[in-house]
Symmetry: C2
Subunit: 410 residues, 2 copies
């Protein structure tokens, strides 16, 4: 419990820090990581050895690995966060009420933010820096497999805090990293203001079921692209290719392509040829399989985020069929329509309930960097507070400051 009280106290100290001070300390943190490259590499080796002994997959091992170049990239990410505008203290709105009270709505930090994430150790420094810049204390819970790396990274950042007479608890690692420790953390609504789980479905479900602290989920993406009968195929092919093939393992990649029955006979063969050349594994509904030779897509496939070069195909009857399919199977992440028809395009983006709705573009753009947010906290699949790509403004709330001159309520 003591670390929670310390985090709460620390949050009121970091909340009062000036932009200049925060930026100066962030640059010192970047410097501390680079200066301690060898020590970080040594701790990372312990994680790599344990990972190897525990049979982590090659891709997991790659995500875990740190060298001088990756440590410099972590430092550079912190330097970039230092250059962002301070999201705290913005006057979001202001007016005078009927009693001549001057009311200002001003952005303030949220307080204490708990972040639960998996393997990559750079998330530790990224997240700590995002919370710091936005004036929040954070309690970080990284993956067990990156424990040594995360600990030394947090130590380095904390040493900069201490050198600046600030409490270490501004950037804390969760002391008990067991499932019970997490279950305990997410119930501490007296001390913790927000939990952000980033990871697999099981983790997010566990957090959501146990939390009394508000949660912003960074959940799965089951993204669709609907190929309308008025499609411009020459424009559509590169978009479909990009959305599936460029980086199949990310949440904004297309999982299911919906095709208007009115053009399915014409467009499916060239689309199949393109995906075959890209090595994409295709699976389709019965109507699809009557036109092109692909595997069977069942109901479960349509619910699944494959995170692989696999694509479901389903034939639907017009834009209404696409909207209906997405209402059933979509995860509210990113959905696109490819069409030349103005009314159909608007009908689609007005009706589909998702954080990002596209006309004639790849779903791969749903990303804080692509949106121009500078730094990304993540992509929220929650509807409240922050939805879709989430910049550091998402780590602030607001208060009303009311300037009176003796007003009483009549």
């Amino acid at each position: 419990m003591e670390f929670l009280q310390e985090a709460k106290k620390a949050s009121s100290i970091i909340a009062q820090l000036s932009t200049r001070e925060k930026n100066r300390i962030l640059l010192a943190m970047a410097q501390a990581l680079v200066a301690n490259t060898q020590a970080i590499e040594a701790q990372n080796r312990l994680d790599m050895e344990a990972g190897s002994a525990n049979g982590l997959s090659t891709s997991m091992m790659d995500r875990l690995f740190l060298d001088a170049k990756r440590i410099e990239a972590m430092a550079q990410a912190i330097r970039e966060i230092a250059t962002l505008p301070d999201p705290v203290g913005r006057v979001l709105d202001g007016w005078v009420n009927e009693d001549e009270l001057k009311i200002e709505k001003v952005s303030v930090p949220i307080g204490v933010i708990g972040i639960i994430y998996e393997s990559r150790p750079n998330v530790t420094s990224d997240t700590a820096a995002l919370c710091f810049k936005s004036g929040n204390a954070c309690i970080l819970k990284g993956g067990k497999e990156a424990q040594h790396s995360n600990t030394i990274i947090a130590d380095m950042l904390q040493s900069v805090l201490v050198a600046n007479a600030l409490p270490k608890a501004i950037i804390a690692l969760l002391p008990d990293t067991s499932r019970e420790g997490v279950a305990h953390l997410v119930k501490q609504d007296k001390y913790v203001d927000l939990i952000i789980p980033r990871g697999g479905e099981a983790l997010i479900r566990f957090v959501n079921e146990n939390a009394t602290v508000p949660v912003i989920k960074h959940d799965k993406g089951v993204c669709h692209i609907y190929v309308d009968k008025e499609v411009d195929l020459a424009q559509a092919l590169p978009i479909l290719h990009n959305a599936k093939v460029q980086r199949p393992g990310v949440c904004n990649a297309m999982e299911t392509m919906l095709v208007d029955s009115a053009v399915a006979h014409d467009v499916l063969p060239p689309i199949k040829a393109m995906f075959d050349a890209a090595g994409t594994q295709l699976r389709g509904c019965a109507r699809t399989r009557a036109i092109i030779e692909v595997g069977v897509a069942n109901d479960e496939d349509f619910h699944t985020e494959h995170l692989a070069n696999k694509l479901n195909i389903r034939i639907v009857d017009g834009v209404e069929g696409a909207i209906e399919h997405i209402a059933t199977y979509g995860s509210g992440h990113s959905e696109a329509i490819l069409t030349r028809d103005y009314a159909t395009a608007n009908r689609f983006i007005d009706s589909v309930d998702a954080s990002a709705c596209y006309i004639n573009a790849s779903t791969r753009f749903t990303d804080g960097g692509q949106f121009g947010f500078g730094a990304e906290v993540g992509i929220s699949t929650s509807k409240l507070h922050a939805r879709g790509p989430m910049g550091i403004e998402g780590l602030t709330t607001y208060k009303f400051k009311i300037y009176g001159s003796g007003q009483i309520r009549r």
Copy 2:
């Protein structure tokens, strides 16, 4: 489960309704309530008889009671909601990204909102109208004691929906009103997007502990006013009186007055005289009781929302002492400082973590109407999504609409 699926479907229909249609239907709803005054009164009498038999308090009975005048007031509240600007479809932000995607951030309804409230039956029509205007379906769970009244009010509103070929499920009453029914509702994150509990601490704790759906709490207010050494006593006395005495039973009333030790000897006697004249029951800390004769305020008092003409008094050492007391005992609702000192005033409103922070004004202004919001959903004591007085914008979220011309991600 069926009613949840119906609510979800209904939410996508109401979300697409034009402002003109929504306003026309709201006016018809107001008309339907007035036209059925006698039928509503008859059902209300059943609740009143049961309440009387069950020994409800006089104030509970008064809150429950409906007559022609109160039914007209309910209708008038709906008419006023019809005149508010539509919170849906506002372009909150818009820009062109580096790839020339046109990105618009547009307000949209949240979806299905569950609202759990207590005795007063007018909350049924107010809440239904607020959700309807903001394009949301609602599932309402009123107090058991108002069951007949709530049912006929919902019936009247639904009959207008049906007459306009809209699904009844846009405004639904929770079928199972037992605690189990509520526990079930707040776990339906597949169907319900937001839960707003309005009521006592026990209800709010129950909802928060059981919910997997996001919750916006409308919780208690333990509000403070700090009397600084630089106070203008002539201005301060009416503010203190107003904040405690005008309406002691509301959440924005003052519960604890903090007094700077530097002026306690001078200001406590006149303050006591004023509150004695107002029949306020005073209780103080040991330092207070060394100056004026009042009862004992213990630690529990400082945590309590009295909802009565009772006031705790505590002497603190300067603004820092006030900030510290509020950090421990405050509920994040409304806090005020009374001072002529510019730096002290700013230190207070910058440092105190509450939805509304006042300089030289009564805390009683924390209210959607006083803020000029037109209609109030309530006062949020949550920090995320909506904080403090919450207008109908608080019942919306946003989506990004992205207008492309063939962009793929590089």
